[in-house]
């Protein structure tokens, strides 16, 4: 029997159960994009860039009433231990779709009819929670691009490891035998959930606890996101 990952409420990397990994956000990292952001959740590193609103190509995708989102999620080949074959796969297409749905509800899309907003997310280094890091980055990048939104979308995963409910799992924790991982994205200002995914099985009580935990996490993340956006302009002033 191997040793336990979580001992007396302390996790392998020294965090408490309801603590997120050290979070670092920087807005405006890509010069050529209209808006961009770099996000680090511990060792998970993501860069996101937003282009537009711009003309829609192909034209038949155009909507006369609102803008459309074109989301791309991509893992760089060196982001994981076994080199990932570059390009699209069914996982990246699925994540791009759910991320798009997580973001579109807070954007005032009707202000830009017949246009498209491109969101690119590149996973530079993966250590679990790449989709939540990508959403957190994309939300900051959208704000940086000057796109009107009802608020910032913050995202974090929580789950169960060895019977404990923990926030922001690492790959090591995610690989535990009973682990479940539940990524949640929400408009932290109101607590409205825009993404919730899960596989594995958990009791209703556990899910309730997990969602409550992510709510607290998202509220903390939103503050850091806002600070990163303001920081970009304050850095110019100094």
């Amino acid at each position: 029997m191997s040793e336990k990952l979580i001992n007396k409420g302390i996790r392998p990397d020294g965090r408490k159960l309801d603590e997120i990994r050290p979070l670092k956000i920087k807005a405006g990292v890509v010069d050529r994009a209209d808006g961009s952001a770099y996000v680090e959740f511990g060792t998970t590193k993501v860069i996101s860039a937003v282009y537009g609103p711009k003309k829609v190509h192909p034209r038949h995708m155009e909507n006369s009433k609102k803008a459309i989102l074109k989301v791309r999620y991509n893992m760089i080949p060196f982001s994981v231990y076994d080199r990932k074959r570059p390009g699209y796969d069914k996982r990246s297409v699925e994540i791009a779709k759910v991320v798009s749905e997580a973001l579109e509800n807070v954007i005032f899309l009707e202000e830009f009819p017949k246009s498209a907003i491109d969101i690119d997310m590149e996973i530079i280094q993966a250590d679990a929670g790449t989709r939540v890091a990508a959403i957190t980055a994309a939300s900051v990048a959208l704000a940086d691009a000057g796109i009107p939104m009802r608020g910032l979308i913050s995202s974090v995963a929580a789950g169960r490891v060895e019977g404990n409910i923990v926030l922001d799992l690492t790959k090591e924790e995610e690989d535990a035998s009973d682990a479940i991982d539940l990524p949640v994205a929400m408009l932290a200002r109101t607590g409205e959930i825009t993404l919730l995914q899960m596989d594995g099985d958990a009791s209703v009580d556990e899910i309730e606890k997990i969602v409550r935990m992510t709510e607290k996490g998202c509220k903390d993340i939103e503050k850091i996101q806002g600070k990163a956006l303001i920081e970009k302009y304050n850095a110019n002033t100094a």
Binding site: D34, G35, G52, P53, K54, K55, S64, K65, V106, F108, F112, P113, K114, S115, A116, A143, D144, A145, G146, I147, P148, M149, R150, G151, L152, L187, A188, R189, E222, Q225, G226, L229, I230, Y233, N234, N236, T237
Partner: protein, 261 residues
Amino acid sequence: MTHSITKTKVEDTAVNPKTVAEPKAAGEEKEAMKIVYPGFELVDSMDVLPGAGAFREGSKVFSKILGIAKTRGSVVSVTPLSGVYNPQVRDYVVGEVTDVGFSNWSVDIGGPYDSVMSTNDVREFVERNGDLTKYYAIGDIIMCVVTGVTPTKFINVGTKDPKARKLIGGLLTQITPSKVPRLIGKQGSMIGMIKDKTKCFITVGQNGRIWIKGDFETVASKAIKKVDEWSTQSGLTDKIEALLDKEIKNLPKKSQGDINE
């Protein structure tokens, strides 16, 4: 080499008079600017109205965008720090002719939408079945005015305006459209200063496109780019003036004589 332009008038700048008149939209404010992000709570009161860049949810007013919050009277609004050009009727814009049809031209005015200039909307008399390229050809840069915008963003522009004209030669540069009022300054103080120092003709479009013509185009362009970059700083006109003085000093001796005439 003699320099023909001695002084350019501020009135030359084609600016929407509305924006110049706004004292708070530009100029040197002493108080620190408050930068807000989407979802930032601006005020919790039913007596305040949400202006541009703000929206109401319940009793609270939130910011829609990343920008600078401003309260004027009972309206709270947010001036964006980034974003694409959103055309408004009567805006003066600098556009490029991208296509010529039977009775209209396509004009690129920046942003996600193409605009159309019909033969009815141009100053020149256009002959029936005439050759439209005689008036405006592909690649021409024009100063034009937005004559119509529909809710689904069909945009018409025209040149039936005293300020509208073809821009020949010169240098074209681009800044963030929302920072155009900052570049112009109070009563055109900033742009007037740049024109005086560099002795260039400068035309600013509301879409953030700027056309510069003169012997020191690159110096003027450098200063304009810095206004965009430093827009959140206070005392910007003085800083730009210092930058221009330094740039001019670094110019070769011969051209310095011209600029200091």
